[in-house]
Amino acid sequence: MKKLSMKSTIINFVVLFIVFGILIVLCETGILSNYIKGILMVCCISIIMACSQNITVGYLGQIALGGAGFMGIGAYTAAMITKAMASANILVGDGAPDTLRFLIATLAGGILAAIFGVLVGIPALRLRGDYLAIITLGFGEIIRVVIQNLKFLGGKGFSEGSAGQALVGINRIANLYVVFWVMVVSVALMFTFIRSKYGRAIIAIRNDDIAASASGLNVTFYKVLAFTVSSFFAGIAGGVFAHYIGSLSAASFGWLKSTEYVIMVVFGGMGSLTGSVIAAISLSALPEALREFSNYRMLAYSVALIIVMVYKPTGLLGTYEISVTRLLNRIMGKKEPSLHAIKAEVEASKASEEDKEVQ
């Protein structure tokens, strides 16, 4: 098991290095315009966000809609930290110092978002279904409104009741090369998390929370854990976003943003990280690619969504994961290790109210 996994890890990283190599070549030779680089940056941020939302919405099966709020916490935290470090002249300078400052701040943003994830998750996850959707949406909005009014984040103070200024002057020290690896490491960590006892427990809870309790799982603990991990990576995405965009306004972390990422999860497949990656790339790039159709592009975006949902209700990949190793094996005509694994997309029957009466 370990050997096999090691092999595919190595293969995956070889592929990633090749992709990274291509990226470097394209950037250094000037083939990629700043505009395209910007799109790539947005893709990386969306990938982290979509995967993080997939943990709660897909794997845990709880419709939580506050993702952008936690992204906001990460963004503002990271921005304040790099600002503070800059004014104290710590780790300032092109290249390594700036990058290190960016990484430290982003990590801190993730940690603070995770802490808020615990605080919000404990009360919110007592609810489920549409109730959970509404309460997380509410928490997301609370976060946004609080940020909007905090004076040190550019707000006018709570007594004013109207939106203040954006937080400006954030060092734009998110380098595409670095962000690429931040994205890779984030996705890899979410993958190892899901493929561990923690992930199994989370998927088991989605299938049947009563059976999960009856198997000795502390359902509340795992739900809050999933929500926390998800919030952490949303915070990381926020940290990256802040140092790419350079100025923050609370309005960009509203519920519409949260919905956008949940759409990516649904589009790619609830319970497939590779699905989320593909969805994040296509749904971030699609509106840009369709720019020449100007006003019609959002229409095209919606149509694309509807087509996928009609013909593939479980999303592009369902719960299937694309594996480079498996692809290579197939190309070389090797047998797959688990041949008799029957792939079936079983929609875990949603626990209806009746279902709660334990028989």
Partner: protein
């Protein structure tokens, strides 16, 4: 004398005005197999729900190896040592057979969150070990060749067996089986019977069995408790129960009704 594995004293619960279970008493010793029977709606499943922390008793108490279990949540009861199966099978349908069992080894994992994220040696060691343990368990039920199947794709009889295997993975001292033979054909029932015997030999655990198939109950149970409308109407050896007029009356009186209710349950 040893403390019994399970001791329930005056256990009762009321749903609104309805006393679903009233003054339920039972003592189960190590290695014993006790049957719990009664017509449909008698309150058997409710007894299981009380014993596993799904419901909190409104009266009485129950003890596992002498420790009071009242007020514990479901997973705490399981960790203390009471595992169960469900009348309507509850598997992790989208997961593989192997994963279903591995999940229930919850208490055997030693690795922590950081080990999982960074795949530390402890992660590999535990995963490997528990996978082997799970396959050992599946072997008892002749399911090891189906380890990679999605649980929902198993035939009904095997799903029942998988649910028992999953319960065993929790490392319990007392196993509660809620109508394990329901919906099984005679071959599957016979197979189940031999599985139960193997489990008892291998693990020496105590079992409390709810079963409608009277011939099965009479064959394997050492003692039987009969409840009707939540009240215990008889207890004793299988032979005594079979001849008890109260039991016969309860079953005969409820017989037609029983079939009707069974049908509605299937349809639901």
């Amino acid at each position: 004398m040893n403390t019994p594995v399970l001791e329930a004293k005056h256990l009762g619960i009321a749903f609104g005005g309805l006393k679903a279970v009233d003054d339920f008493n039972i003592t189960i010793n190590e290695g014993e197999l006790v049957g719990l029977i009664g017509p449909n709606g008698a309150g058997k499943t409710t007894v299981f729900n009380l014993l596993t922390g799904v419901y909190q008793p409104t009266e009485g108490a129950f003890f596992l190896n002498g420790d009071k279990m009242n007020g514990k949540k479901m997973h705490e009861v399981v960790r203390a040592g009471i595992a169960r199966t469900f009348q309507n099978i509850r598997l992790f349908k989208s997961m593989t057979v192997l994963e279903n069992v591995m999940v229930a080894f919850e208490m055997n994992y030693k690795y922590k969150l950081a080990d999982a994220f960074f795949r530390a040696p402890r992660y590999w060691k535990d995963e490997e070990e528990i996978k082997e343990k799970a396959i050992d368990l599946l072997r008892i039920f002749n399911l090891e060749s189906k380890a990679d199947y999605i649980a929902n794709n198993l035939p009904y009889g095997q799903q029942r067996k998988l649910e028992i295997a999953r319960a065993l993975a929790t490392g319990m001292k007392l196993l509660l089986l809620d109508e394990p033979a329901a919906g099984m054909n005679p071959t599957e029932t016979a197979e189940l019977l031999s599985c139960i015997n193997v489990i008892r030999e291998r693990f020496g655990i105590a079992i409390l069995l709810i079963e409608h198939d009277m011939s099965l109950v009479m064959k394997i149970c050492e003692r039987i408790v009969v409840i009707d409308y939540g009240v215990t109407i008889a207890r004793g050896l299988p032979k005594e129960i079979a001849e008890n007029p109260k039991v016969i009356a309860a079953y005969l009186g409820a017989d037609d009704e029983m079939d009707v209710e069974d049908d509605t349950k299937e349809g639901a």
